[in-house]
Amino acid sequence: MLDGRSQIRRKIGLRLWLSGGWLLILVLAAVFAPLLSPHGPLEQDLFLGRMPPFWVSGAEPGYYLGTDSLGRDLLARILYGARVALIVALVAGSITALVGSTLGLLAGYLRGWVDVVISRLIDIWMAFPPVLFSILLIAVLGPGLVSIIIAIVVIDWTRFARVVRAEAMAQGAMDYPASAQIAGRTRLSTMIVEILPNVLPTIVVLLTLEMGIAVIVEAILSFVNLSISTDDPTWGGMISEGRTSIHQAWWIMVFPLVTLFLTVLSFSQFGEGLKDRFDPVLR
């Protein structure tokens, strides 16, 4: 008999709506950046340097969020910067999740020497200070989008590997994988068919967190001028530029900073919201 438990339908909470909404806006902004921004992100007009945003007196019409020291439109640069941020978040986040989860799953389920090798590797890896490690990597690989993505994957796979390993271990200790093996499944197919679906919610939640982290790492690297070329608009680069003229023109630094903050917050809150919905306690 099916009982009340099958009737549970959880509502999508406010958290999921707000964070998901902001991320959706960001995606649309990144996709339609050329249509939305009145000016090009690289268009300079030295006569219009450090123009304030539209509600401050002395604002230049058409430059809604004001301009930076070179007279470039801040709105346009933030919109185009969203492209870099989202590409890094999606691509680096997914590859990190794939690499880390695969290794974690193998270690946690197969145990034995596989676990020993992978676990020691994780321990060693985590002894490196991540920011220095990434700066070193970019210095070796040379700046550019691909280098940033590689750096994030190389630094952050351990985050997935550790959590997924623990989760796979817990699932592997239950009776159902043993039953599946008695029923003639190989260890590898048990891992994929039985264990993986049960660790997937964890992976999804971690992935959203990782996307937020990827955005931050990209911003940090842009801030120290190690991201993509300095001309191209990135949020980190804009914050770095704005820092020098914070006393004359606060908006140059504050707008990209707020955008970055909201984005990272949304990623982590989106993950939390998803976790609530997938929570196995209620399953």
Binding site: M1, L2, D3, R5, S6, R111, G112, M174, D175, Y176, A178, S179, A180, Q181, I182, A183, G184, R185, T186, V193, E194, P197, N198, L200, P280, L282, R283
Partner: protein
């Protein structure tokens, strides 16, 4: 000719001399229910796991043979072992709450074995699964096949696991304390169900339990274990009439009497424990030198 014949099975914690099973031998005839009884940690479940090849990695089989219908399982390659087990053995697990995969529907979890090992087509396997659910008295089988484990109660899940164990008509089922995790009221029904199914399908059953009352209801023969050693192996009638070993007698005397709830429990006397410990040590000596 016994269907399952375990001879001189000795099991250690890998890489140490810590013994978990000592020279265990037992026979289960085709269609017979054999009980494995003993205290916690006596190695009852360990024997079941050794037969099904699901011992944890940290535990190794040192010596002995587990023959299933004349073939020594321990000598088979992993692939042959898997095939052999899938065709002829199944498990009714202890905890129905963790024995079903929470993220898969019930249907495929029952039919997997039929399609993978026996090569049935999906439609046929699904019909068979529905029949089985009907046989274990689950109402509305079609709907249950499409539901997830979390939508069902514990007793319901145990019924499903029983159905699933009998699905491929195995010759031997290991039941590892199948009623321990359930409510007392449900236990009785489940026990009756297992017995009915076993008789209808004429399956041999290796029944792990610590409840002598359950043994008297369902088993034909039993082995009493202490510290991984078989202290007595006999048929159920003579065991309850006149247990041969002092430890068996003490164990029987320690069973709570439902007819006299006020009576204080009788523990196993110290001298009996001392005597059986001495036997265990003697067995260890033999194993070390033999």
């Amino acid at each position: 000719m016994s269907y399952l014949k375990i001879s001189n099975l000795t099991v250690n914690i890998a890489g140490t001399s810590a013994r978990l099973l000592r020279d265990v031998s037992l026979n289960v005839e085709a269609g017979e229910v054999h009980g494995l009884v003993g205290e916690s940690g006596a190695g009852k479940s360990m024997i079941g796991k050794a037969v099904l090849g699901t011992l944890p990695r940290a535990i190794e089989i040192v010596s002995g043979a587990i023959e299933l219908d004349g073939t020594d399982l321990l000598k088979l390659s992993p692939a042959e072992h898997r095939k052999r087990l899938g065709q002829s053995c199944a498990l009714i697990p202890q905890d129905p709450l963790t024995a079903l995969n929470p993220s898969r529907r019930i249907g495929p979890q029952i039919t997997d074995r039929l399609t993978d090992i026996l090569g049935w087509d999906t439609k046929h396997a699904r019909e068979r699964a529905a029949e089985l659910l009907d046989e274990v008295q689950i109402p509305d089988p079609q709907r249950v096949l499409c539901s997830y484990p979390h939508e069902l109660s514990g007793g319901m899940r145990q019924r499903i696991l029983i159905a699933s164990a009998f699905a491929a008509e195995p010759k031997l089922i290991v039941a590892d304390e199948p009623t321990t995790a359930l409510d007392v009221t449900v236990q009785k029904q489940i026990l009756k169900l297992i017995k009915d199914m076993q008789q209808r399908h004429n399956t041999a059953l290796l029944f792990v339990t610590h409840d002598l009352g359950v043994v008297s209801k369902i088993c034909q023969s039993l082995s009493v274990l202490y510290a991984g050693m078989v202290v007595e192996a006999t048929d159920v009638r003579s065991f309850f009439r006149e247990p041969a070993h002092a430890y068996s007698r003490a164990l029987l005397a320690a069973t709570p009497k439902y007819t006299d709830p006020e009576a204080s429990l009788t523990p196993v006397p110290e001298e009996v424990i001392a005597a059986v410990r001495a036997e265990v040590e003697a067995a260890d000596q033999r194993l070390r030198h033999g």
